[in-house]
Amino acid sequence: MATEPTVYECPSTQCALGTVGEPGYFTSGATLEQAVMLTGKPTDELNEGTDYGEGVCPNCGTLGTAVP
């Protein structure tokens, strides 16, 4: 049986994910390329796990929290 992916909640009230004023949800996480676009930083200044990768919101780059 396939394992359900972990769902994360984006804590940023400024993030467009979901709808305005309410939390949005995502799985997986921002790619390195997406983190570059979101932050404007070069790849060598970005860290996996905090700036991109599993649990990082792909819409705003904020580290999310796993939903139980």
Partner: protein, 145 residues
């Protein structure tokens, strides 16, 4: 646009009124890849009868009942409608490595156990999502006379 409140969905609606089932305070907006860009399931349709997208980073988006907009005319005098968050769209996660072709959206109850409604997009066109794309949906629910 093909759209339906299947039996499961009507049960949820009738459970809120006149029957006194437990109040539904949230619903979930989801995307499907099954059926076609202009068709949905029939009246016996349910969650098992559709395929939810699994594009990278996708997740269901929660809709609070308190955020649905004012009840208004569904033109012209056809019924009544409500638009979620006064028309501000619901944004889905930016697509990661793997995209998908989306044929429409569906609503589930808060517990994700029942299909309340399933609908194609209003232009009857599938949305092909590729890496870095963002899909925004403006949910509207209307009941006709």
């Amino acid at each position: 646009m093909a759209a339906i409140f299947p039996d499961d969905g009507l049960d949820v609606l009738l459970g809120q009124w006149p029957k006194n089932d437990t109040r539904e305070t949230t619903a979930n907006l989801c995307l499907f890849t099954s059926q076609t860009a202009s068709t949905v399931q029939g009246h016996t349709g349910n969650l098992a009868g559709l395929t939810e997208t699994t594009y990278t980073s996708y997740a269901r988006q929660s809709l609070a009942t308190a955020t649905w907009g004012a009840l208004a005319e569904y033109p012209t005098n056809a019924g009544r409608q409500t638009v979620y968050n006064s028309g501000t769209p619901v944004t889905f996660p930016t697509v990661g490595a793997t995209g998908a072709t989306i044929n429409g959206a569906f609503l589930t109850n808060g517990a994700n156990t029942k299909l309340i409604a399933q609908a194609n997009f209003s232009d009857l066109t599938a949305v092909t999502l590729a890496t870095n794309d963002v899909l925004k949906v403006t949910p509207t629910v209307a009941l006709t006379h």
